[in-house]
Each structure stands twice: as C-alpha cells, then as structure tokens.
Symmetry: C2
C-alpha cells in the first residue's frame, strides 16, 4: 500500500458529538492509564500503584546503569551525567501532590476526546533528587538563556506529529527556589517505577502533570521560547481551534472526599447507616496554600467549614487532610466539598470549559443512600 501517511492513523483533536458516548479509543486509554481509587485518599503518601498514571506514548524500556542525562544548549559547560554522579549532589526530598491537567475532562460537554478522566487523576509522593538549579549552576547558564527544554525518552505520534515528549519551563521557574524544581531519581524512597519515569524525571511542585517530564534524558537551555507540540499545540486553554490560548501551568484548587460507607459495584453509589459519619479527604492547590474547605450534605445549598489538618513544614506543595462530621438520616443525599486557597482561588459550581478539557476543578458530588438496616436480600 503506497502513500500511507502518519496522518492516516493520527487524526486532529476533536470534540465528541452531542450525545456521543465514550469510544473504544478513549476506553483503551482509560484501561492503560489509571486514577487514584478515591478511598486511597486515606494515605498521606499514595502507595505504589495507586498514584495516578498518564503516559502519552509507551513506557520506554530504560536501563539505569547506562542512563545519561545531558545538559546542553545555552550553557557554559555541557554536562553528561550518569546516575551515580546525580546521586553525589546534595539531595532534596519533597512531598508533592501531582494532578493531570486533563482531570475532570470526561465530565465536560462537549467532551474533548482524549484520556477520559472523571475526577481521580491525582496522587502524592515524596520525590528525592537534585534541584534543577544545582545542575544548571554546575553547567553555567549563558546570559541569553530564557527557557529550559526537557526531553523524555518516550516517543510517539500525536495529532499527526511524530515527537519525543518535550516540554519547557521559563528560566525563572527552572531556577526558582519555591517551588524548587527537582530532577528526581526516587519516589517514596525507592527508585522510580517504570511508569513514573525510571530512572529520572522532572518534578515541578504545584504544576500539572504535563510539566513533570518522565524518562528525562536531556535538558537544553535555549535563547528563545520553545514552540514544540506539547507547549504550543497541546496544553493551552483555548475556546476555539484558532484561539492561541494561555499555557496550562499551575494546579487549580480542588478538594476530594473519600466516598463514605461502602459502594455498589456498578453505580459506585455509596451506602451508609444512620448516625454519625466522618467525612474526610484531601485538598490542594498549585497556586497557594489551601486555606479553607467547606462541605455540603444537601446538594450544595448549605455549606459548613471542615477542619483542616495543619500544613506540615516542608510540605507546602502537598495536599492537606480535612474532616467534618455528618449525621446521616435515611434517604438519598448528595455530598460535596470545595477548597479555597490563599491566592483567592476556589472551585467553580459550573465546569470551566476549554477545548483541551484542562483544569476542570468542578466541585465533587458524591451520591449516598442512607439505609436504616442491613439489607442482604435487596
């Protein structure tokens, strides 16, 4: 068959038609990638395998023993670093909550066709590595450098464009000390698992997942803004295809509740018994510390303040625990939770729509049936 082109198998981005349900292609992404089962909000640190995972292409086959990170471009001394050398720099460990920029996408109307997250694309880990600014200082930043471009080992096609996964950060972010960007080689005290970037990844506290380049193999300083696919085509807030849009950067505030009681297998509706029910969960923002969480047990009519756990020292970019008491009475209930941050951001009542389906931090709603007694017969 002559004349086959990459565009034959890689169509442009699109919105689902009215009433169009989830396609097998979207389902294939949902089966590969996964969110945090919401009951796992109970753990301060998300255990291995429960942290959300989003991989654009394939998880590459990598070898820590032969891995090299190059630092090049607008630097005085290009570097080629192996893992033992990276580990010889002073290490930092930071607890960071990460969230996929596409979290909430599948609840938008019209729905952007892509990884169909509902609300669960989040996780918190302790990442250990070398501050990026340490490596850039070692290489020596040229006066005309304006951005750092990060290249991963994952390779694929997206909307007709064959590419290595690449993203950039403005130099002030790359060199910043709060958040301090890490080149991380450990997650929760162990080498990175394959799906989280083994053996090296970027960690940019407070930013959505697209910035956290995995399988990191190159850092190149450039004297002009990066215009690659993931920077200028994907990950922008656009209202229409020709809208240049603003770049997706920091995480919008969100609170999530551990769904109380126990679930129905298929509907995931919750069942609780009458009486005191502890509501609890986590809240985070990539803009500023979370300063308040409110809870509603009547579908959003009345809201009351939840109790926030103290923000622990050194964990400014990790989620905060919250809890609230509820006296459940027989019948159907809709529970909601909403976060506020110190920069004045909160979660919207109506979903914030854009063509990429990014940063939909709509308030969570949890359907609960309170039943007076065990009912084992239906």
């Amino acid at each position: 068959m002559d004349g086959a082109r990459i565009s034959d198998i890689s169509p442009p981005g699109r919105l689902a038609e009215p009433g169009e349900a989830i396609s097998l292609e979207e389902l294939a992404l949902a089966a590969r990638n996964h969110g945090l089962p919401l009951e796992a909000l109970r753990y301060d640190l998300t255990p291995a395998g429960l942290h959300y995972v989003l991989v654009h292409y394939d998880i590459p086959a990598t070898d820590a023993d032969t891995w090299r990170l190059t630092v090049r471009g607008r630097v005085r001394t290009p570097l080629t670093l192996d893992l033992p050398t990276l580990r010889s720099f002073p290490a930092r460990t930071r607890r960071v909550t990460m969230e996929c920029a596409g979290n909430g996408r599948a609840r938008l109307t019209p729905r952007p066709v892509s990884q169909p997250w509902l609300v669960e694309a989040v996780g918190t880990a302790e990442w250990t590595g070398v501050p990026l600014r340490t490596l850039l200082a070692e290489a020596g930043v040229a006066d005309d450098a304006v951005e750092a471009v990060f290249t991963g080992a994952d390779h694929g096609v997206e909307r007709g464009v064959e590419q290595d996964y690449q993203r950039s950060l403005p130099l002030p972010v790359a060199m910043g000390d709060d958040p301090e960007v890490l080149v991380a080689y450990a997650m929760n005290g162990r080498p990175l698992p394959p799906q989280h970037g083994h053996p090296l990844r970027l960690v940019v506290p407070g930013w959505y997942g697209m910035a956290q380049v995995k399988w990191l193999r190159e850092i190149a300083l450039s004297d002009a803004p990066f215009t690659g696919f993931q920077q200028e085509v994907a990950y922008r807030y656009r209202q229409s295809p020709d809208d240049p849009g603003e770049p997706v950067t920091r995480i919008a505030p969100r609170a999530l509740m551990i769904p109380p009681g126990f679930p129905d297998f298929m509907s995931r509706t919750r069942v609780v018994r009458p009486g005191q029910v502890r509501l609890e969960g986590r809240a985070w923002s990539g803009h500023a510390p979370v300063t308040g969480v409110v809870v509603s047990t009547d579908g959003g009519r009345v809201w009351s303040e939840a109790e926030l756990a103290p923000q622990e020292d050194g964990h400014d970019w990790a989620w905060r625990h919250w809890h609230a008491a509820w006296t459940a009475t027989p019948g159907r209930h809709e529970l909601s939770v909403r976060a506020y941050d110190a920069a004045g951001h909160t979660q919207p009542v109506d979903p914030p729509w854009n063509r990429g389906g990014f940063a939909n931090n709509l308030i969570q709603r949890v359907s609960v049936l309170c039943l007076a007694a065990p009912d084992r017969t239906g």
Copy 2:
C-alpha cells in the same frame, strides 16, 4: 425520604443496547481499576503498579499488626492466625500469571455492562505464602467437609445484594498440590500492596482472578457447596438469565504481543519503519502448559510458528515468552498471535459470548502502519 431500598442504587445485571457506547459508570470502573500497559509484557515479573487490578468494592483499610485469619467450620481445631504465625510455617514462592475473568468483555456484542476490559487485564508476580493445605492440615479437615469458603474484608453491594466478597473452592482443589493454593503475604518479595490484598490473599494458580480472594480474613470449611453471590450468581457461563450455567474456573489460553514500534496517542495504532521488526510477547493457559504460539502479519490468513522460550522449572503457572521475526514493508498491516496449550485448547477466531462476558480470549489484533521515513510534519 422513606422507603429507600438498596435496589434503588444497585440495578440487575444487563447487556448494553445495540449501539450503546461505554457509560460513565463503566468508565468510572475503568478509571479506578487498570490493566497492564501492553509494553509491560517485556518484564518477566510485572513491576509494582503495572499488574492488572480489579477491586469489586473499595480497597479496605487494613492493619497487618492486628490482622487475624480464622480457619473454622468443618475442622477439628479452629485456628486464629496472626501474620508472624503465618510466616513461621514453611513458605513457598510461586510465579503465577493472573488474569481477570472479564478480560475482553468490552469487545463483545452485545456487551455485558460491567468492568469494560479490552485485552489487558493480566499480570505476573511471584507470590510468597503458606500452602493452604498446610493450614487445613493444621486445623484438621472433618470427614464431611466438601468445600472451603474464603471471605475477604471488602464489603459492598452488587445487583441488590449487600455482601462481603466470598468465594469457595472444592476441597480437592483447596488441598491440591498442582496447582498448590497459597495464602500469600508477599508479592515480588515485598508485603502485599493495598490493592493486591494487604496483608493476606489467596493465590490459586491457573484460575481466573475471582478465585484469588484478597484481604483474606476467614477460611470456613463447609459440608455443602457454597451458594453465595460470587459463586452462584456472578462468575458463571450463562447464555440467558435463567441458564444455570457452568462455573468460571481456569484461565483460557491467550497470547499477547508487545505492540511493536511506537504509538499514536489517541488511536494507539502503531508505527514501524521498514525492515526487520522483532515481534514478541507472552502466552499462558490455566489448563495446561502452552505448547505453541503462532503469529500472522497479514490479518490472519497465513500463520507461522513463533519461538517459545523454555518453560522454566517451578514456573508452570506463569506466562511463557515468545518471539518471531517480521520484515515490515510500507503500508498498513494487521498483526495477530494465537496460543495453543497441551490440553488441546486454543484461542477462537470469533469471540465466545456469554452474559457475564467471561473468558473472551479472542485472538489479539494489532494495527500497524509501516512508514518509509520519519515524518515530523504530518
């Protein structure tokens, strides 16, 4: 609201209507649970977080320090065992390939509405624990015992029935030595992760996942066959709702290929360059050793024998590696692979349909575009 019943939130099982696409409820299950990204077939042992996970209800909060396993019912001496006591019995480590009985369900027509697996619900781990027959011998099996009933700590509702997750095994299977059933406390040399049954689970080599009861807290020997929901209602091969059906037990043979080349993000169609391409993957069967794997590169017209890696000693219930060479030429190709086992089973060309959507081991098909040269412009 009076009169609320559990059946209000827990409808009967159903088939999707003709043309009905994946619902948000099915998607919610797909976002919680996850399959093996097929490139992870490259690992002999599936790394943490890449093994498939299917949890019916919630992952329960468990504490290894206070965990007790009781052995009761038709035994001479009931037992209550803590983890240190379980670890004091002679341990076995077994490499086992597990697969969800619902794997392939989402490709059936009509589609049973449940966890919508495509083809990826599999993984291989080394499980360490105590042989179940050791514990049963310790308790002393009564002469009238016919089944062992296993109860997990996961609690929920399914099709109107509130339940702890429970499954049984006939006594000859529970006491068998090939496969030898394990009460496992470690996975790949580490304590079980929460989603795989921490701190204790059953491992029944060769059987589908529904038999591998997680968060195991009780083993009860009974003098009559168990009639619980997961035994007599779910997990049976039925053609109609009133068909009593046969129980789902052992894993049907399947071979899967690591999709070659690199993917398009959205369609997951693969791109390769012309020339030699190594095709490889894994094959397994819960009935008998895999004895052959054949590969087709022309949509299933011509099949040729793949090379099977030797079956390693002691790994009879783990997948076997296979590989084959392919000379790719420009154009579109459809790759397929098919496994045969020593008991005479193979994979069907047409999907085997039943109302639960179990054991659909239809031959895998992988769409590939072979392109003559890198094409970075689309």
